[in-house]
């Protein structure tokens, strides 16, 4: 963020949040004491003692004063807390580091990823870019670049791994897009190595342990105001990494709605470039770094799953190293697909920045927010518009998901497991593996072949994408590629071949990889615990 903007953003965010929380009788008092309560509660479990002490003293002082304060003074105290939050959110930007990082980090990342293979490192030094092999960026690249020139864009990727933000950062750099601002959870900073990249890729820290609605409002408003100031934004609308492995179907509407909010503010301010465009994006892995932890969490009893996971594979550099090494040794590709940009109402936008309806007819998008000829906020209406946008994003996610061999073969094997024991509940099936510990290769081939036919039909109908192996190779090649992946990186092989039989080892992982295909007609249905 530019230095001159930092102060402006701070002032604007503080004022908007304060205005929002001071409407109505007793509103200030409620907001103030709720925030103090939530924060003090959080501090009870704060691990860093110095921080707990410092912030504890701050809230104690505010509380002590607030108990006896007049409504006007309470408003000032609330403003003080909001200012504290705003400073925390915006304070991590160092424009100098930011400038340098946008130039230095992507090549550094390339070196990092390639350093696991000396030969590849050598290639990098010699000037070639082997990352081209691993990360394939596709989809509507030109349309997205145009959108970024015509207005402010919000990139909203699917989210499976903590590596997502790094890969997106790299992909943006490679296709020639400017850097994006985004809020990264504190847990992303737990790995020191990654933390370095996080800090410098334009990320601001988001403390997800802070539950106070005022804090969440600060984050949302910050994103909105930064959009109004032409900063491209990136966030994961699923809210957190997909635990089940499925493509996100339900999106968090709060942050997503800030696009529309910024758009209306821009119209009201009669800005020359008022447009905000939303770019869905899918990130597709053969192997997901944190698959075991994620599916494990998904399968916990309802209500016991964790929103924040701090001790997963991502926090262990050795696992990241293994994962990268595996991808290279298997020539595995990560597909990052950017979809056609959308306007904030969910209509597709063409390369000239014109919104189009489903029939391709041009739509004058400002009309959606006009009342008596003026751009106006209407909370209920705007929530519904955002719901429409979310629906279009989810549709795009599905169309632009790239099915990998690990997904398809896991689904085929899981279907065999299910068919053998139709009466068995999911937990038992996962724990025991049902009646047979292995299937004949032929049987698996037949099952995969049927699934492949369905997947190819869906792909021809434009409902999903397939990786090269699935679109070009035969069943035997598909199964063998999947086996190479599923049988190695994870701690326990999900699937391995002995003789002419395939043994299912970690069924949780099979479930995880097959869940990616749920929501595509004719393919898997998501198995819910």
């Amino acid at each position: 963020m530019r230095v001159e903007d930092k102060e402006r953003v701070g002032v604007e965010v503080t004022q908007r949040v304060l205005d929002h929380w001071t409407q109505g009788t007793d509103a200030v008092e409620h907001a103030l004491f709720d925030t103090i309560y939530e924060e003090r509660r959080r501090l009870e479990s704060e691990k860093k003692r110095s921080r707990a002490k410092k912030e504890g003293a701050f809230y104690n002082r505010i509380r002590h004063e607030a108990l006896k304060a007049s409504p006007e003074r309470q408003k000032e105290l609330l403003k003080e807390i909001i200012g504290f939050f705003v400073e925390e959110v915006t304070g991590h930007f160092d424009p100098r580091v930011y400038e340098v990082a946008t130039r230095v980090v992507p090549p550094a990342l390339s070196v990092l990823l390639n350093s696991v293979s000396p030969l590849r490192l050598l290639e990098t030094i010699q000037g070639s870019d082997p990352l081209v092999d691993q990360l394939e960026v596709g989809g509507e690249i030109e349309a997205v670049k145009n959108a970024a020139k015509l207005g402010t864009t919000i990139l909203v990727p699917t989210h499976s791994s903590n590596l997502d933000s790094i890969l997106v950062g790299f992909a943006l750099y490679r296709i020639g897009l400017p850097p994006y601002t985004y809020g990264a959870g504190l847990n992303l900073f737990s790995n020191k190595l990654i933390s370095f990249f996080m800090h410098n890729l334009g990320a601001y820290k988001v403390d997800r342990r802070k539950k106070a609605p005022v804090y969440k409002d600060v984050l949302k408003t910050y994103a909105g105001v930064s959009m109004e100031m032409d900063y491209h934004n990136l966030f994961f609308p699923g809210g957190t990494r997909s635990r089940s492995g499925a493509v996100e179907k339900k999106l968090k509407l709060g942050l997503l709605g800030m696009g529309l909010n910024a758009y209306i503010h821009n119209l009201q301010a009669k800005k020359k470039r008022p447009d905000i465009f939303v770019v869905p994006c899918t990130i597709n892995y053969q192997l997901v770094l944190e698959a075991e932890t994620l599916i494990g969490d998904h399968l916990k009893e309802v209500g016991k799953s964790r929103y924040i996971i701090e001790d997963d594979e991502f926090s262990k550099p050795k696992r990241i190293f293994d994962w990268v090494q595996k991808l290279f040794s298997l020539h595995s590709r990560i597909h990052l697909i950017v979809s056609k940009p959308l306007d904030v109402f969910g209509n597709q936008v063409d390369e000239q920045g014109v919104s189009r309806d489903d029939r391709g007819r041009p739509v004058e998008r400002t009309r959606y927010v006009l009342q008596d000829g003026k751009p106006t906020f209407d909370r209920q209406r705007d929530q519904e518009y955002t719901r429409e946008l979310a629906r279009s994003i989810v549709d795009a996610y599905h169309r632009d998901t790239v099915i990998k061999s690990t997904n398809l073969v896991s689904m085929a094997v899981f279907d065999l497991l299910r068919n053998r024991c139709p009466e068995m509940d999911l937990y038992r099936l996962l724990r025991t593996g049902g009646s047979e510990e292995s299937f004949s290769l032929q049987e698996v081939h037949n099952q995969v072949s049927r699934a492949l036919d369905t997947a190819r039909k869906l792909s021809q109908a434009g409902k999903v994408r397939l990786c090269e192996t699935l679109s070009e190779k035969d069943t035997v090649a598909v199964v063998s590629e999947a086996l190479a992946h599923l049988g190695s990186y994870h701690r326990h092989p999900a699937l391995s071949r002995r003789g002419d039989r395939l043994f299912h080892g970690d069924r949780n992982l099979l479930l995880y990889y097959q869940n990616r295909l749920s929501g595509f007609g004719g393919l898997a249905t998501e198995k819910k615990p």
Binding site: F345, N347, S355, D357, D358, R359, R361, V363, E364, R365, R367, Y368, L370, Q371, D372, G373, D378, Q380, R381, E384, Y385, R387, E388
Partner: protein, 341 residues
Amino acid sequence: MSTRSGLDILVVGGGTFGSTLATLLCENGHRVRIWVRREEQASEINAKHTNSRYLGDFKLHENLQATNELADSVPETPIVLVAIPSKFFREVAREIGDNLEGDQILVHATKGIEIDTFKRMSDILREETCAKKIGVISGPNLAKEIIAGQPAGALVASRYDEVVEGTQTLFQGSWMRMYGGRDVIGTEIGGSFKNIIALAAGVANGMGLGDNTKALLITRGLSEMARFGVSLGADVFTFGGLAGIGDLMATCASPLSRNHQVGVRLAKGEKLKKIVESMNQVAEGITTTKAVFKQVQHLGLDLPIVRAVYGLLYEGWEGQKALQNLMAIPVGRELAALRYR
């Protein structure tokens, strides 16, 4: 609402219900235009204030203007009300979409489902226009009673408060009490599904069965409607309201209902083809049954009345066979499928 000021509302569709709503809104003091497909029908409405094909000698409101041009009329109005049979709905919706803009409200009053795709009418409006603010009107609204000036009630459902409030304002003070709701899916399913039960009730009437049997049929029909709707995402409470039981009661009890009439004639042994040929208006239940039956199979639901009506319409079942099949079903706990879902 927008700054468009030429009209208060454009009613698209000059059938019985469209004309009825248009005249009711005129009587309520609004500037209303009605779009009809045929030029001569538009001329008749403008010159003689009648719509003889659908409403006989009934005099429409003299301020009601008719047109067969959508391109001129759509941009002039803040609200477009579509009342077109489901068979032609998509085609007309597309035409509306050529001239519509995002600030306009689009409400429909068509009770039916697109047979090939199982799309609801609001889905079609969404696909064929740029409108987001979409709503549906449904309820026990037999047109001939409304034009006779009798009190009636309906439900306007939309995800957008602006649509609900805008539509309610138009009907405020009229004999049509317009209630508001948010459950678009339930409202549309109720309005379509009741035609199937009306057909069944007509068959029962035609077979000379009494009120006990009809009450049994209607109540179990409502249960099937609710199960079907809920499986598609509807709110179960909608079926206890005007768009559910309300509409079902009126349609099944009234000999004026077209679907009811088809049922009566089927029970008397007439062939479907002949019945359809002899009617100058569409009985939506005939196509709805086909679409719903297909969907029921897809969803894996067990809805015996739908099955029986499908048999009557498309598999040459006789009334007696349908009745025997229905009576042979084991009785379980009432509403169990809804209560323990």
